[in-house]
């Protein structure tokens, strides 16, 4: 393959910003309507009561929190790829870093919605904000949910800033290649960046610190999310393995989602030369790793339950595997642990359709993991007389559908109006030799 030049990089990426055609706008409109349907479901729920969902006693947490954890999970690989792999100087990250960060930002936004949707009295949500008030009533900072509030908002802020900082030089490039109104807009967005080396030297330093801070953040945020359960007393939740287990799971799902997004993107935007098969392969290999970590966690959980000799734990995990939610459990296990193993085969790893299917399966599996953990634990905890089952209601499905639409809606808008591959980093990689994005 011919050596990639700066010009090629610019042209390929800038080509993606050409005015979109009708099908694009139709899709965007469709997704918007989908999101609107979700909104209507939520409004209905606010007026009638949370009971329109399927939650009950004992299962008072349903799809809302499942989706919350799911999206937070998705959000993780973005920062992982752009920050951790940046520190590791893993060159294959460069072509997908931008898209992954974008995914992160939008995923966190989506995730952030769910706690609100979940609240019984969302109109009182400001009780959770630590603001000075006459009653001197402040939130309870020992609550894992307050940890969440802090962690998730921090994560949203940081990943958004990280994302934008990384984009400034590219915005400048677009500014310089465009004319008229667009030039003005990108001019403003690029904050008058002119790529002076006086700026670059601070920029790369700052970017490094960004990465250095984002890395522990990624780990901590999903640990905090996991503590929503780990700090609970419920059998199946109350376990020290939860933090690493959830972080691994999050990255697992995140990488899968990256593939799910990248493969079509690559096709539509003719990124074949930037996002080479090798990049996708590297992602696939990482998925094998995370998949194995996750599988290990599953097995450890069961082992500990048996080893602890606690009848409640034992009963619960036996029930999880062979009880009412046995199907969900095995879907989870197959999709997250067995399916990724197929990526060991180069043939599969290098076939786009296979990759696509596997990535989607992993996403499904991870959704069910959250179902099994969240629903499958409280449904069957200490007091047998209080056991009960849960099934989502149409309203819940509606809201879920809406949020998925919202996510893709935002993502679609982004890729057509912002550089979905970081030109600067590609150029840098091109010369500084590392990264070798080209065979």
């Amino acid at each position: 393959m011919a050596k990639l030049t700066h010009a090629q990089i610019d042209n390929t990426v800038l080509a993606t910003l050409s005015p979109p055609d009708r099908t694009y706008w139709l899709t965007v409109a469709g997704l918007f309507i989908g999101a609107f349907i979700g909104l209507c479901c939520w409004i209905y729920q606010i007026f009638v009561g949370i009971g329109v969902g399927g939650q009950n006693n004992p299962v008072a947490w349903g799809t809302y929190l499942i989706n919350f954890v799911f999206w937070v999970g998705i959000a993780h690989s973005g920062t992982l790829i752009s920050a951790i792999l940046y520190l590791f100087r893993a060159g294959w990250r460069n072509p997908i870093a931008r898209a992954a960060e974008t995914m992160t930002v939008f995923a966190v936004m989506t995730a952030g919605l769910f706690p609100l949707i979940h609240l019984g009295r969302v109109w009182m949500v400001y009780f959770m904000i630590p603001y000075p008030n006459q009653r001197n009533l402040w939130p309870n900072f020992t609550s894992p949910l307050m940890f969440d509030v802090i962690a998730i908002s921090t994560y949203l802020t940081v990943s958004a800033l990280f994302w934008y900082t990384g984009m400034i030089p590219d915005l400048a490039t677009i500014r310089d290649r465009s004319s008229g109104f667009r030039k003005k807009v990108y001019g403003v967005l690029s904050l008058g960046w002119t790529g002076q080396f006086e700026q670059w030297r601070h920029y790369i330093r700052g970017y490094l610190f960004f990465a250095a801070l984002a890395t522990p953040l990624v780990i901590s945020v999903h640990s905090v999310v996991s503590w929503d359960f780990g700090l609970g007393i419920v059998p199946g939740w109350h376990s020290t393995i939860f933090a690493p287990y959830f972080v691994a799971g999050a990255i697992h799902s995140g990488l899968a989602m990256v593939l799910t997004l990248m493969i079509p993107l690559r096709k539509l935007f003719h990124y074949e030369e930037l996002i080479t098969m090798r990049v996708l392969e590297s992602v696939a290999k990482t998925i094998i790793l995370t998949g194995m970590i996750v599988g290990y966690s599953y097995i450890t959980e069961v082992f500990i339950a048996w080893y602890s000799f606690n009848p409640v734990e034992q009963e619960l995990f036996h029930w999880r595997m062979f009880g009412d939610y046995g199907l969900e459990f095995w879907i989870m296990f197959t999709c997250n642990v067995i399916v990724p193993l197929f990526l060991f085969f180069r043939k599969i790893r290098t076939s786009l359709p296979a990759l696509m299917v596997i990535s989607i399966l992993v996403n499904v599996g991870m959704w069910f993991e959250r179902f099994v953990i969240i629903v499958g634990s409280v449904a069957h905890d200490f007091i047998p007389h209080a056991w009960g089952l849960y099934a989502p209601s149409m309203i819940e499905y509606g809201i879920m559908f809406g949020t998925f639409c919202m996510f893709f809606f935002l993502f679609l808008l982004f890729v057509k109006h912002m550089p979905s591959v970081s030109m600067t980093e590609m150029k840098e990689a091109l010369n500084s030799g590392d990264g070798d994005v080209h065979e």
Binding site: G49, V122, I383, A386
Partner: protein, 995 residues
């Protein structure tokens, strides 16, 4: 943004939401310009009255706030219930405040449509019809009423020279009455000193549910049946299926229906043998000999299906008992042989204890005044071919309670018979009437009802009136006066009662009358009124003249029924919740799940799992139970406490009409019952065989509130064997150490309960530390506590489909656990908020809605709650309840709401508060009187009403308080204590003994 603007915006937000809510709590305040002397706003006044929900006649005190009654509690002075109340008594409020209660008289026009008419008109019609009916053409049927009302009714019927009123009760205990006549020569229902017995043998009498006087006998039963210095008296129950009563027996022996008589005759045979003849009065001894001769243990076992050595053991225990008491069949499983069984039971008592010390022939149950079923049938048949033109019905519902084959429906449909119903509800019978005149309900009227002979128990208005209905007794009285010259002041019932009592010499003067009303009756004279004095003391207690012949005739085919049993047997059991069906429109009673099946709002048909399996029926399949008289459809429920091939449906539901909560819910078992009454006693048969039990294609998901039947060996509802306990007594139980579920030590929610080895955080000092002790050995699972909680704390009624979704709101639930290896053994287990010292629910709330009070309560602040539901998820006991919607109280039910307790709206969590409002009240009075709160001064609603004193509430921090002393009991333990939650609800293990 400024704080204020922010709050404004938030306010707008919540307003826009509030618009959506259908029921905003009523924010209007009314000031009384002329308040009655005894009404201080915010302060409750109490009125003593009498419960009329069933014929038992318990005394109640009604809590009245700002003119409306909001809670009923037992009258502590009343000898029958001694301050306790059953769930039906609690629910009397919902009869009074029932949204389906008729507010105006209704008249049916030619084409059968109802038209509301003013009272004046309705009464005019009544008078006119009455004058037409003069000359013996009027008839009257009433529920069992008090003496005064009975007299007035008599006068009225005499006034139109017609036969006296007939008292109708679906459960009239004909068999028991007749048995008493045959064996004791007393055609009535004597009461029992159950508390004095040391061995109780019962053949189906469900004295914890409906039999005679449930609250009284529940109390007496537990007085007899608790563990005292390492000993516990025995209770053996022999019956075809396990009622709540049977579930409380030390040993329940499943007998083939009809086999009870055989068992009893067997016992008689052994007893006679042991007592070598035993001189029985009336020379029935020899007769008994040859009657019972045939009933050898083998034959008994064969006839009854009991295992022979279980039977032998039982007999041995019976004969060794010092103070045995044998009870026959209740109406529960009463078939044709009910008479035989009850006669046999009486005779057995006579043989075992010739003086019959545990029988009280003086204070007989008032319900004995009810007519036999045969008389009821004759009444209607009589109407058919008599020229009667007027039928008066007072609060009876024969069209529901009588088998369809009875003449009742036909008679009432007849054109030339004008039917006036004095009912407040459009039930099956009222629907067939021509005129409905709603009258005052017991809670708002004067009157008198003695639940037992010689007992005066008064009724007085406990609340402001909802509608301008007349007082029935007064209305009838007025009818007997010539219309042209009515006195200025109409006769008042209270003065009639007063006069009657004065004439009877039971009170002198106004003062005593006032005291009587304040106390709710005359209980000092509990001993006995003068006139019945001499017919006391065994002298007159002797078998009736024709005893011998009637015995032979009674026992002619005793026990053989079982032999001719072809196919399944069907039993229509009386219901703990609905009694005979009169409670079916009380939302609390529908909402509270049946103690045994845990099914609410529905009427399942109970069958043994094996029987179901044989017929290929799965739980929830709709089963069609058909007899030659009719068929009833109900979902099958697999219940272990059943003899094989027995199907039980409890009565009460399956109404058409009656009200929004009763209409179309459940099934009515009465409609397939046979018509013919038993010839000698005139008793109806509530047991019927054979029936056809067919599976239909349909299914009905059961609205049950239990997730699982057993406790999987967890530390929840523990039992301890008597032997084990004796060893325990030697050395206490607190020396346990370890972290496992069963090794974890007993840790009080007090500094004593803390130990640096286990606890990361330091303990807290308490001045008051509220706690509760639940004695599982005393809990009979009657559910009165739970319903009392609904009444006191404004719990929402969620209805059938919400319960199916698992959203019941009960703060206090009775969990029912079967023993894994003996599924017919049941333990009832009250579960409420444990008010843990280390409550898992508290720290997880982001806004401090649940937190720890300085007195150890686990507070829940409703208006701070934002509904994350994390607390509920993290509660190991799953006692927290979430308001999934804004629950509705259709007017006037909302008037019953307790003003001291917030009415929660959608989106907030709630749970048991230990009735914090009562704790606050106690604090106030203590403060005013500059003292500390007495031990036992605070009684949460559940504790207050528990008929068996299973619950005790108090201050754990006080070393001498009752609760604290009870925690030293070796039976004390904490549910799932190993979670180190340090619960403030301490349970005492149930003491079981093998028979």
């Amino acid at each position: 943004m400024h704080r204020r603007t922010f709050l404004k915006l938030a306010g707008i937000g919540s307003l826009s939401v509030a618009v959506g809510c259908t029921s905003d709590p009523d924010k209007k305040l009314y000031s009384l310009v002329h308040a009655p002397d005894d009404m201080v706003t915010g302060k409750a006044t109490w009125y003593a009255s009498t419960c009329r929900e069933c014929p038992a006649g318990c005394g109640v005190v009604a809590k009245n706030r700002e003119g409306r009654v909001i809670k009923l509690e037992g009258n502590p002075l009343h000898p029958i219930n001694q301050g306790k109340l059953c769930m039906r008594g609690q629910a009397a409020l919902q009869g009074f405040y029932n949204p389906d209660r008729l507010q105006k008289p209704l008249r049916k026009n030619e084409d059968g449509e109802w038209r509301a008419v003013p009272y004046r008109e309705a009464i005019a019609v009544f008078r006119e019809k009455l004058t037409d009916a003069a000359g013996g053409r009027a008839r009257m049927m009433t529920e069992v009423v008090g003496t005064t009302t009975e007299q007035i009714m008599g006068e009225l019927m005499a006034y139109v020279d017609s036969p006296p009123p007939l008292m109708f009760e679906p459960y009239a205990y004909e068999a028991l009455k007749t048995a008493n006549r045959i064996t004791f020569g007393i055609d009535g229902l004597c009461s029992y000193h159950m508390e004095e017995a040391d061995f109780l043998l019962c053949f189906g009498a469900d004295f914890l549910e409906t039999w005679l006087s449930p609250v009284e006998y529940a109390r007496k039963f537990k007085q007899m049946h608790t563990v005292r210095e390492g000993r516990k008296n025995l209770f053996v129950h022999v019956s075809p299926w396990q009622s709540v009563t049977a579930a409380n027996a030390d040993q329940w022996l499943p007998a083939a229906p009809g086999g009870e008589t055989a068992v009893l005759l067997g016992c008689i045979r052994e007893a006679l043998g042991a007592r070598n003849g035993g001189e029985l009065p009336g020379g029935i001894g020899p007769a008994l000999h040859d009657l019972s001769e045939a009933y050898t243990p083998e034959r008994v076992a064969e006839l009854s299906g009991l295992s022979i050595d279980a039977y032998r053991k039982m007999v041995r225990l019976l004969l060794n008992a010092k103070r045995p008491l044998v009870l026959g069949q209740g109406v529960g499983s009463a078939g044709d042989d009910a008479l035989a069984t009850n006669v046999a039971a009486n005779l057995l008592n006579m043989i075992l204890d010739p003086e019959l010390k545990r029988f009280d022939f003086v204070h007989r149950h008032r319900v004995e005044a009810a007519a036999r079923r045969s008389e009821v049938y004759d009444f209607f048949n009589g109407l058919k071919d008599s020229d009667a033109s007027l039928l008066l019905l007072n609060n009876v519902n024969p069209l529901y309670a009588l088998p369809p084959a009875s003449a009742a429906a036909g008679v009432m449909a007849e054109k030339d018979l004008f039917v006036i119903s004095f009912s407040s509800f459009m039930d099956e019978t009222s629907a067939q009437a021509d005129l409905i005149i709603p009258v005052l309900m017991p809670l708002e009227r004067w009157g008198e009802y003695g639940g037992k002979t010689g007992l005066v128990s008064t009724l007085q208005p406990t609340t402001g009136r909802l509608f301008d209905a007349p007082e029935l007794a007064q209305l009838l009285k007025v009818m007997t006066l010539p219309p042209e010259n009515l006195p200025e002041k109409l006769p008042r019932i209270q003065s009639m009662v007063q006069n009657r009592l004065t004439e009877a010499g039971q009170i002198q003067g106004k003062q005593e009358w006032l005291r009587t009303v304040q106390h709710g009756g005359i209980f000092a004279a509990d001993a006995k009124p003068a006139e019945t004095a001499e017919e006391e003391k065994g002298s007159s207690i002797s078998p009736s003249k024709d005893a011998e012949t009637s015995l032979r005739n009674v026992f002619r085919n005793a026990g053989n029924r079982t032999a001719k049993n072809a196919g399944p047997v069907f039993i229509a059991a009386p219901s703990l919740r609905f009694f005979d069906g009169r409670g079916a429109n009380r939302p609390w009673l529908c909402e509270y799940p049946d103690p045994l099946t845990k099914v609410a709002w529905q009427t399942p048909v109970l069958m043994h799992p094996d029987t179901l399996a044989e017929n290929g029926i799965r739980q929830g399949d709709i089963v069609r139970v058909a007899s030659e008289w009719g068929a009833v459809r109900a979902p099958a429920y697999a219940f272990y406490g059943m003899a094989p091939d027995v199907a039980v449906i409890s009565a009460g539901q399956g109404h058409d009409g009656f009200g929004q909560y009763a209409g179309g819910k459940g099934a009515n078992p009465f409609i397939i019952l046979p018509y013919e009454p038993e010839p000698v006693s005139g008793a109806p048969s509530f047991l019927l065989s054979p029936v056809r039990v067919e599976k239909t294609r349909k299914q009905l998901p059961l609205a049950h509130t239990d997730g699982n039947k057993t406790q999987h060996g967890r530390k929840i509802a523990l039992t301890v064997g008597l032997e084990e306990l004796r060893q325990h007594d030697a050395h206490g139980h607190h020396e346990k150490h370890g972290f496992g579920m069963h090794e974890f030590p007993f840790t009080l929610p007090l500094p004593e309960g803390y130990d640096p080895h286990r606890d990361l955080y330091p303990p807290r000092e308490y001045d008051y530390r509220w706690g509760m002790v639940v004695d599982l050995d005393r809990c009979v699972g009657c559910g009165a506590c739970s319903v009392a909680c609904y009444a006191e704390n404004n719990l929402g009624i969620v209805g059938e489909e919400r319960i199916l979704e698992g959203r019941e709101m009960s703060w206090l639930r009775i969990e029912r656990y079967h023993k894994e290896d003996q599924m017919e053994k049941v333990t009832f287990f009250p579960m409420l908020c444990q008010h843990c010292d280390n409550a898992p629910c508290e720290s997880v709330c982001p806004v401090y809605a649940p937190h720890h009070s300085p007195e150890g309560l686990n507070n829940q602040i409703y208006n701070r709650c934002i509904g994350t539901r994390y607390c509920s998820q993290n509660c190991p006991y799953k006692v927290r309840r979430f308001n999934w919607f804004t629950w509705q109280w259709p007017s006037p039910l909302n008037l019953q709401l307790n003003p001291d307790v917030t009415v929660r709206s959608k989106g907030v969590m709630e749970k048991c508060s230990f009735c914090v409002q009562r704790i606050k009240t106690a604090h106030d009075s203590a403060k005013n009187e500059k003292r500390r709160i007495y031990d036992g001064e605070i009684q949460p609603a559940c504790v207050q009403t528990c008929p068996t004193d299973a619950l005790t509430f108090g201050n754990l921090a006080d070393k001498n308080s009752r609760v604290r002393r009870m925690t030293d009991d070796p039976r004390a333990y904490q549910v799932m204590g190993y979670l180190n939650t340090k619960t403030a609800v301490i349970y005492l293990k149930k003491v079981v003994q093998e028979v």
